[in-house]
């Protein structure tokens, strides 16, 4: 099981993957916005998105859970 967490303060600009989706290594889970840049958050291995913990428009802090992949 992999917990995908935020590495910086950011806005959740776009949620790309949904709960239940099968993802491959490198698939985009969400796109964050920070300091005027789009920052994709990628799956680091194959699996199923068992939890999508954020919604578009959320402001997240460093360490906040974004998704769980199993």
């Amino acid at each position: 099981m992999a917990e995908v967490r935020a590495e910086m303060v950011a806005n959740v600009w776009q949620v790309v993957a949904s709960e239940g989706d099968q993802v491959a290594d490198g698939d985009t889970l969400v796109i964050l916005e920070s300091m005027k840049m789009e920052i994709p958050v990628l799956a680091e291995g194959p699996g199923t998105v068992t939890k999508m913990a954020v919604s578009e428009g959320d402001v997240i802090q460093e360490g906040d859970l974004i998704a769980v992949i199993e």
Binding site: E7, Q14, M35, K36, M37
Partner: protein
């Protein structure tokens, strides 16, 4: 630098922050023009604020409540008696509405006429206008694409791969690619909602993808007599997440023949919109075919303008102010020659491996110095880099008599630039300069991705 003619602008309010505000203020003061700064609560300690003749607080840190608040900026102009407003880049620089409000308020707008801003802000309209003016464009949409069926039909006409872009967008934000109808169908609705959210319009444009490509742009000046001159090109292919990281002039990937064609096309582009002031025509060059297409026109000064200044000896902000004042600058430009080579390295507050933002307090700041070195810095030791704005800390610009000399000097300057506190991408710039691909001059827009695989 030429001696300025008697300039009739008494004062200018710089509607921006950080390094560009500092840079505009520097030239304005050199010209004897009273320089007025505006600052948000987060920026009160930045160097540009104390270097201005007068500084006005305009709101809390979020840009929407300060630098993007047109009423706050205009209010500051009225309170200080500013005769002109220079918008810098970003923020309100390409807001035709703001430009019109400045002009309606009886102030001088240091930029092109609002219709030119508006025409070039709509990417579909810009492409159509360019095509009519005889400027090459990539195969693409002549009208906004409004639903997925139209997108599929359009892509069939254009040919895959296609780029899906926001018609009201720009600057590489929110673009995606589709290599097949399936990918287009999967990505189209996302692209539309993204375009709506980020740019206020769901209009989509499809364009034939050019890959590999070099991003090469041309600096133009629209003069008071309505003539347009092209000053030179800049290669901006070193990008991460479609944002520029380093630029150089002249482009090592463009032959003299292609350069001449691109400069001539840029002049036609400027003439087609009745351009006035400093602008940039951005193009994509197919390095194998040695041909080019128009991408977009930026109706403002660009971040990377210093490298053009270093090879031409022209102060572009001075030209902007003179043109805005209605002065005739053509004599200063008639003898412009490009000499030597210049490179700009954008120093960002981000980690050098994955380019993730790294705000924080700057505890040490020591700039490199030496022949051919120019640093345009927005921050100093003790300042805080906050998450509210883009992560640009400074521009390290280096000139040399040749590309080899410029890059050699740049490599030493990167080592000598000490910034502590936020992480910076200076180590990435060292890596870039040390890389065979960049050193060879034969790189394209995937160069950063290749350095990171």
């Amino acid at each position: 630098m030429s001696e300025p003619a008697g300039v009739s602008i008494e004062s200018v309010l710089v509607a921006n922050r950080g390094e560009i505000a500092r840079r505009v203020i520097r030239t304005a003061r050199r010209m004897g023009i009273r320089a007025i700064a505006v600052y948000s609560e987060a920026d009160a300690g930045l160097p540009y604020v104390r270097e201005a003749d007068e500084a006005v607080p305009i709101g809390p840190a979020p840009a929407a409540r300060s630098y993007l608040d047109a009423s706050a900026v205009l209010g500051a102009a009225q309170r200080t008696g500013a005769a002109a407003i220079h918008p810098g880049y970003g923020f309100l620089a390409e807001s035709a509405e703001f430009a019109a409000r400045v002009i309606d308020a009886g102030l001088t707008w240091v930029g092109p006429p609002p219709p030119a801003i508006e025409q070039m802000g709509d990417k579909i309209n810009a492409r159509n206008l360019m095509e009519r003016a005889g400027v090459p464009v990539a195969a693409g949409s002549r009208e906004p694409v409004t639903d997925v069926a139209a997108a599929v039909a359009e892509a069939g006409r254009i040919g895959y791969q296609v780029m899906i872009k926001a018609a009201a967008g720009g600057g590489g934000i929110g673009m995606s690619a589709a290599a097949s109808e399936a990918e287009l169908r999967a990505g189209f609705e996302t692209a539309r909602s993204r375009a709506e959210r980020f740019f206020g319009s769901a209009a989509i444009l499809l364009e034939r993808r050019i890959e590999p490509a070099r991003h090469v742009e041309v600096q133009i000046l629209g003069l008071t007599d309505s003539s347009v001159v092209a000053l030179g090109d800049r290669d901006c292919s070193v990008q991460r997440r479609h944002q520029k990281v380093a630029e150089e002039t002249p482009s090592p990937g463009v032959t003299p023949g292609l350069r001449a064609q691109m400069l001539a096309a840029a002049v036609r582009a400027g003439e087609a919109v009745g351009y006035r002031g400093a602008g940039t025509v951005e193009c994509l060059v197919d390095p194998q075919a040695q041909d080019f297409v128009f991408l977009e026109m930026n109706t403002r000064i660009q971040v990377e303008h210093p490298i053009t200044e270093m090879v031409t000896g022209i102060d572009l902000v001075e030209q902007q102010l003179l043109i805005a004042a209605g002065e005739d600058v053509s004599s200063a430009l008639s003898s412009v020659k490009n000499e030597g080579h210049a490179v700009e390295l954008r120093v960002y507050a981000e980690d050098p491996r994955r380019f993730l933002p790294s705000p924080g307090v700057i505890t040490e700041w020591a700039e490199p110095t030496g022949p051919g070195i120019r640093v345009d810095a927005g921050y100093a030791a003790g300042n805080e880099v906050t998450p509210f704005y883009d992560p640009l800390l400074a521009k390290l610009c280096v000139h040399g008599a040749s590309r080899a000399e410029a890059l050699h000097r740049a490599r030493a300057a990167v080592d000598a630039f000490r910034i502590a506190g936020p992480k910076t991408n200076l180590p990435f710039h060292a890596e870039l300069l040390d890389s065979d691909e960049f050193a060879s001059g034969s790189y394209d827009t995937s160069v950063v991705a290749r350095l990171r695989t």
